[in-house]
Subunit: 192 residues, 2 copies
DNA sequence: CCTATTCTCGACAACAGTGTCCAAAAACCC
DNA sequence: GGGTTTTTGGACACTGTTGTCGAGAATAGG
């Protein structure tokens, strides 16, 4: 029928995501993406349909990956705290890895583009799901006596998520692994 | 000698700060500032010297105000937890007040312009000071038995700051007072 | 009242970035 | 091999933004 694309759209989206993640929306021009992805301008527009749409696609992909990690944690049984430690370690590594401080794409998006309803909805939805997931696991851990019971699960989940996002912000200022680990350790200790 | 300014530079800086705070750097054009401050373009450039410099000046002003609030808390004696509650209440109100979700200017700046060394330094310095201040008060509260002693003060301070910044991020996504209060309550409960 | 200095306002040059157009090239099917 | 469809790459129109220029207005001092 016709000519086939010379690049892999999925791979391109991943690269675009990393660039948007590091530099943010406003500091990422289409020209830069064309240059760094090694894809023609027109191909980029044809495939993804413009900067805003490409950004949202990148955000969706990040969100899917992030939720997969969280669900993987949910899927496993056993005590909560070791699972949480593992999860937090991943959060730290992700926030620190890369040429510069990236933090978390969703947090960055919320801060930088909270004004955009589409972006905001995308972000809010993710964190609500994550909070629900955490709250359920925390409630179970409270019943088994692993987590203190003087704070209700929902509030504990919100606060834990707060620490996690605080870690991401801290990582964006200064990606020092030991600082983030200290926060993670303390947060876990406080739960019991 | 000469004509005097028709506007108050200090007041103008305050307004500019609020606008940068709400919309961020890239989404705030000089033309918009000229329009909304009611000041001539040239006057703005003469007084503040360009967008980047105006932004940094606004950031400095915010930082000064924020540190003043923190020091006010430090100055007062008595048990720590009530003071912290008061402080957190202020944080919540500040993050929620305004026509839209503002969060914290410094957090926003760190996320949006972490790439700029000047901005980054400004932000890092502030949070380091704040962390030190908190750590000192927490250490004292530990000695008096008000705060649990199984986590060292520095780590506790980092984590508390993490929750606070997490609250600011949450506020930027969805400025719901009850959610932020729940986080603040839980964080305080976890300290004891 | 006059002069010197500073402020104010509209206009604008220079620049950067987005999204589109068009011609050429490439792949697939007949 | 020819025709058709799609991709590709460069050029470019258009828009929006920054920072500056020059003329005119306002104020303080002589």
């Amino acid at each position: 029928m016709a000519r086939q694309k010379e690049f892999d759209p999925d791979e391109a989206l991943t690269s675009a995501m990393e660039i948007f993640w590091e530099r943010g929306f406003e500091n990422t021009t289409m020209s830069a993406l064309v240059r760094e992805l090694g894809i023609g301008r027109q191909s980029l527009y044809d495939t993804f349909g413009g900067r805003q749409q490409l950004y949202e696609a990148a955000l969706r992909r990040y969100r899917t990956d992030a939720m997969a990690k969280a669900r993987e944690m949910e899927g496993r049984s056993g005590p909560l705290l070791p699972l949480l430690r593992e999860y937090l370690d991943e959060v730290v590594e992700e926030a620190v890895t890369g040429s510069c401080a990236k933090g978390c794409f969703l947090v960055n998006a919320a801060v930088e583009r909270g004004g955009d309803p589409g972006v905001r909805a995308l972000v809010v939805e993710h964190f609500e799901r994550l909070e629900g997931l955490l709250a359920r696991r925390i409630a179970a851990a409270q019943r088994s006596g692993e987590v203190r019971e003087d704070v209700e699960p929902r509030a504990l989940a919100k606060t834990l998520l707060g620490v996690i996002n605080g870690m991401r912000v801290a990582a964006r200022m200064q990606p020092r692994r030991e600082d983030l680990r200290a926060m993670a350790d303390a947060a876990l200790r406080l739960l019991s």
